[in-house]
């Protein structure tokens, strides 16, 4: 049974988080960490707020020297991702691939 609040007010902001929409998916986005440049495009376009951005340190050759640099990385939250593919379409470096869900 659901709790009935006065006037159908819902006093639990963001309670939709308990509804996991990841089960809707038939295809899933897979991020190639080597290609991801941390541009946040996929984050901005995701209709389901299902992409979180994390900081990481990568090694990169700059001017003949290998340096450690900070770069953001897109991580898919599969609890909520509905598999729409917008992130893969918007990714400017084609770092996200849509693959079929497999059991």
């Amino acid at each position: 049974m659901v709790k009935i609040y006065l006037g159908a007010v819902n006093p639990h902001p963001g309670s939709a988080l308990r509804y996991k929409t990841g089960t809707w998916r038939t295809m899933k986005p897979v991020v190639d960490e080597q290609k991801c440049i941390g541009c946040w495009f996929c984050y901005m376009y995701c209709p389901d707020s299902a992409i979180q951005m994390v900081k990481r340190t990568i090694k990169k050759e700059i001017g003949g020297q290998v340096k450690e640099i900070e770069r953001d990385l897109a991580v898919i939250n599969y609890d909520y991702c509905k598999g729409c593919g917008i992130c893969a379409a918007e990714c400017p470096v084609k770092a996200i691939e849509m693959v079929y869900e497999e059991k």
Partner: protein, 399 residues
């Protein structure tokens, strides 16, 4: 300290809203209620009232803005009538379902068509099922008192429902009558500031007006309905407190000479005074007649009606509305009040004063004698009688 002014009905309701220190008044002009927003804007302009007035572009927006303001924590009042109330229709259900204690004065006026600006109760009767409380004033004093009490009742945590206060078009809205009113300090003491249980507040975000599936809709409807059903003791308590503070007595239903009456005539609104005078005169002629005035139509006073009218041979309902294809709406309510009683009077329906047609002492005499004849014959046929009408001028099929 009581003060007295000779004012119109609309001024009485506006005065009550001002003394209630309303925060927001969204309003749209409509005859016969326009004087309400005019008075409110005057109060704001001359510094007597600190409120936001929203000059909306329709009654639909008036009640919509009222909901927004009330949900944001404001005390809200507005006024309308007839077509304006009908235009609000869909939103009225939402205001009550959201449990927002908006108070609205209604200049009870006929619904079109044909267009007509005079008194009857067809506008508020059409909003019977919207989940609002409905009060009907007999005179301007009642309009002031009921309007003021409506805030207190509506905002009571045990109730939290919107309320309409009906005052008959022109007969009350535009007629000057003496009205006693308390001092601002006394009103402030009677009516503390509105303390909403939930508000639109960035520090405590909440969702108002959710989408409810079959899994929860019935429970919401049930809890809303229960609140209305359980409001009578609260209303009685506040009526009683009002009497103690200000000396004027209110009841949800008031009987007059009902105890030994063979016929009891039930009415609402401004005709109630005429009805009592008619009863007084008929009593002098030896006719055992009584009167009942319904002040609170929603919640409907089932028990009290049965108590007041149960001993009569016949109950004659004199109502200013018609539900075409049925009877007057009040007939259904009163018949419903009696249906499970082991013994009950006959119940007869009379349609009076639609579109502002005068209701006179003679009309009530006719109602009483017709009803007494029905009681003698032991049957009510036809069920619905239109009083003071020229039927030969109005053929059902047209000419």
């Amino acid at each position: 300290m009581e003060m007295k002014e000779i004012i119109r009905g609309n001024m009485a309701t506006a005065l009550a809203a001002k003394m209630a220190r309303v925060d927001v008044v969204p309003a749209f002009p409509i005859t016969p209620s326009t004087l309400f927003p005019e008075k409110i804007s005057e109060y704001i302009a001359n510094g007597e009232l600190d409120a936001e007035m929203i000059l909306v572009e329709s009654e639909h927006s008036a009640i919509s803005a009222a909901i927004g303001a009330s949900a944001a924590g404001a005390r809200v009042a507005t006024a309308t009538a007839s077509q304006g109330l009908a235009l609000m229709h869909e939103v009225l259900f939402i205001a009550s379902a959201m449990r927002l204690p908006i108070v609205m004065a209604i200049g009870n006026r006929a619904l079109s068509g044909p267009i007509n600006i005079w008194a009857d109760h067809s506008d508020t009767m059409a909003e019977r099922d919207t989940g609002w409380m409905q009060f009907y004033a007999e005179n301007n004093q009642e309009a002031f008192d009921l309007m003021l009490m409506a805030f207190r009742i509506a905002e009571d945590r045990r109730v939290l429902l919107p309320a309409m206060v009906g005052l008959d078009a022109f007969t009350l809205t535009h007629t000057m009558e003496p009205v006693d009113y308390p001092s601002q300090e006394e009103v402030d003491d009677f009516l503390p500031p509105y303390q909403p249980p939930y508000t639109l507040d960035v520090n405590r975000p909440m969702t108002f007006g959710s989408f409810a599936t079959p899994e929860s809709y019935m429970e919401f409807k049930w809890s809303h309905t229960r609140a209305l059903e359980e409001s009578p003791p609260v209303i009685d308590e506040i009526f009683e407190e009002y009497k103690k503070r200000f000396g004027r007595e209110y009841k949800r239903v008031t009987g007059y000479m009902t105890e030994d009456a063979d016929v009891i005539i039930v009415a609402m609104g401004s005709v109630s005074g005429t009805l009592r005078e008619a009863v007084r005169q008929m009593r002098k002629d030896g006719i055992r007649v009584g009167a009942v005035k319904i002040t609170t139509f929603r919640p409907f006073p089932f028990k009290e009606i049965v108590e007041l009218c149960g001993g009569a041979k016949i109950v004659a309902i004199a109502e200013r509305a018609i539900s075409p294809g049925f009877a007057g709406p009040l007939f259904g309510e009163i018949a419903g009040a009696f249906i499970n009683q082991p013994s009950r009077p006959l119940i007869s329906d009379f349609i009076i004063g639609l579109g502002g047609r005068d209701v006179t002492l003679k009309d009530f005499r006719e109602i009483a004698s017709t009803a007494l004849k029905e009681a003698e014959e032991g049957r009510v046929e036809p069920l619905v009688k239109w009083i003071n009408i020229n039927p030969e001028e109005a053929p059902p099929g047209g000419e």
